[in-house]
Amino acid sequence: MLAFVIRRVLQSVAVMLAVAMIAFVMFRFVGDPINQMVGVDTPQEEVARLRASLGLNDPAPVQFGRFIWNALHFEFGTSYQFRLPVTQLLAERAPATLELAFTAAGFALLVGVIMGVYCALRRDSVLAQVFQAVSLVGVSLPTFLIGILLIYLFAVILGWLPSNGRGDVVALGGWWTTGFLTKSGLRALILPAITLGLFQMTLIMRLVRSEMMEVMRTDYIKFAKARGLTTRAIHFGHALKNTLIPVITIAGLQLGSIIAFAIITETVFNWPGMGLLFLKAVQNVDIPIMAAYLMLIGLLFVMINLLVDLAYGFVDPRLRVAMRA
């Protein structure tokens, strides 16, 4: 088991190094780190001196080492557009993205499971057919179109919900801002969270539906029925419980995608998060922000995959044997 954990951790470190390599190449060779420090009229000697003092004439591996060292200390240089440290820019916007992503994931999980269970238990009802049709549309429509549709319906025609920004936010402990504590913050969260979570919701719904239908056919459900347990106890105590293990795995793996896809949702709703910052960086070729965001998302994906794999290793004894072989 220990060998499996060590090997898996080493693999993750290797992937992270590869991502860091790409980020470094972008940072150092596609962009020019001294770009934002010099003006048009800076004399050539001054530029050369700056280059030398920053170590940009050192061999590439040395510079790569320094890049990693800085990244470990959350140093990603200065944004070309804002002339502020990239870390500070990202940290300011992280709460907005994380709150949106977790709300969307919660919505996807809750509604997806309820709809999936309903579709599995009342397979032929009209509502189940409607849910199925909705899920087909949710998979086919691009995220931004769903966002526009929701804005048009709930913000323009009905005027119920805001479509722009985060509403009022409250500062917590000096480094976190939350929209959960104000009425306008909560209202502003509804439409973006639904837009972002819709794809995952349909995914979870389909998964729960098929898993649950499979579980309902197993012997232990028949046995539970024979024992005379109530339908409710069978459905929710036995069937749903066994359905949820793969569902939670998928939901966990999807959390990374939700944070990455927040780029689109944040643009549609003008949500002041990291995704919007990244998009502005792409539009304005702000390489340091792009490199830092890549590292951040890379770390997130690698960590999630690692945790899921390790959790599986602990939970499923068959996998442990397979790993040893």
């Binding site: 429509l141 990455a260 070729v285």
Partner: protein, 309 residues
């Protein structure tokens, strides 16, 4: 000669299982019809469109934001109304569809070309080459395609700093899509190449003294290329969505050369002023073509899968 006795290509298609399955599925026929219609619309846009939205001489600001023909204030010249600059929306959609299909199609073809090449190399050569290519594929697969496309878009624009977005938009988008979607082809081709390379005909070709590139391209490739068609169709829908998303996000095609995504992003700005048609018609076109292509892809996957017959 066997070739002379064989029925003609058309007769063989009409007699095939795939065609029978096609005929028996109504919704697929509808989807195919829609896709065909949209391809024709895109192909013949210059002749079908009453206006040329790229020609500033025919576009007048006085015609801006006219509602569709059947609404109050509509103009009989503009079926679906006009956008904020006075362009006929119907013409803009036809031209936009053309751009979307060209970018999506070329992007998917580039992805297939990269994926097939790398998959063949990985599968045929094996060893270090294989593990490097497949590790890169694994790493890339953990990231969503849209994120990779955005990154590539930013990097390519940084490399071509001198030129404006208008000149580089289409090549950059095609490269972004191509580099985002190659993994699936590479994995498929690699798998079947590893099976094929141990078969007798490959050994025979090697004995005759053919070089590895010739064996790969002339002998292995024709035997492994089958599944690529299915992936191409399924990926076309994804590629169209990716292009539209990038254009919507403002890193794709500019407003002077609009694709469906650009038109939607323009329309999005006028949603609150009540000009619903600017976003609705391009949006509906995008949704319909993606849905139709996806249905066609799903059907093709099932129809060509002998296990499901």
């Amino acid at each position: 000669m066997a070739a002379n006795n064989a029925p003609g290509l058309v007769a063989r298609i009409l007699d095939s299982d795939v065609y029978a399955s096609f005929r028996s599925t109504k919704i697929v026929m509808v989807a195919a019809f829609i896709v065909l219609l949209m391809f024709i619309g895109a192909l013949f846009a210059p002749w079908l469109a009453p206006f040329n939205p790229f020609d500033p001489a025919t576009v007048f600001l006085a015609d801006a934001s006219i509602p569709p023909r059947w609404q109050d204030g509509g103009d009989p010249r503009f079926i679906f109304g006009t956008d904020d600059q006075g362009r006929d929306l119907y013409s803009a959609i036809l031209y936009g569809l053309r751009v979307s299909l060209i970018v999506g199609g070329l992007g998917v073809l580039l992805a297939a070309a990269i994926g097939i090449t790398l998959g063949l190399l990985a599968g045929y050569i094996g060893g270090k080459v294989d593990s490097i290519i497949m590790r890169v594929a694994d790493v890339q697969l953990t990231f969503p395609a849209i994120l990779i496309a955005l990154l590539i878009d930013g990097v390519v624009h940084a490399l071509f700093k001198g030129s404006s977005r208008e000149d580089t938009a289409i090549p950059v988008l095609v490269i972004s899509i191509g580099l985002s979607f190659w993994v699936q082809y590479a994995r498929t081709i690699r798998g079947s190449t590893m099976v094929e390379k141990n078969k007798d005909y490959v050994h025979a070709a090697r004995l005759v003294g053919l070089t590895a590139p010739v064996i790969m391209v002339r002998h292995v490739l024709p035997n492994v290329i089958g599944p690529v068609l299915v992936i191409l169709t399924i990926n076309l829908g994804l590629a169209i969505i990716t292009e539209a998303t990038l254009s919507f996000l403002g890193v794709g095609l500019p407003a002077t050369q609009p694709s469906l995504g650009t038109l939607i992003s323009i329309g999005n700005k006028y949603l609150f002023s009540g000009d619903w048609w600017i976003v609705t018609f391009p949006g509906a076109t995008l949704a319909i073509i993606v849905l139709a292509v996806n249905l066609l892809g799903d059907w093709l996957r099932d129809a060509l899968n002998p296990k499901l017959r």
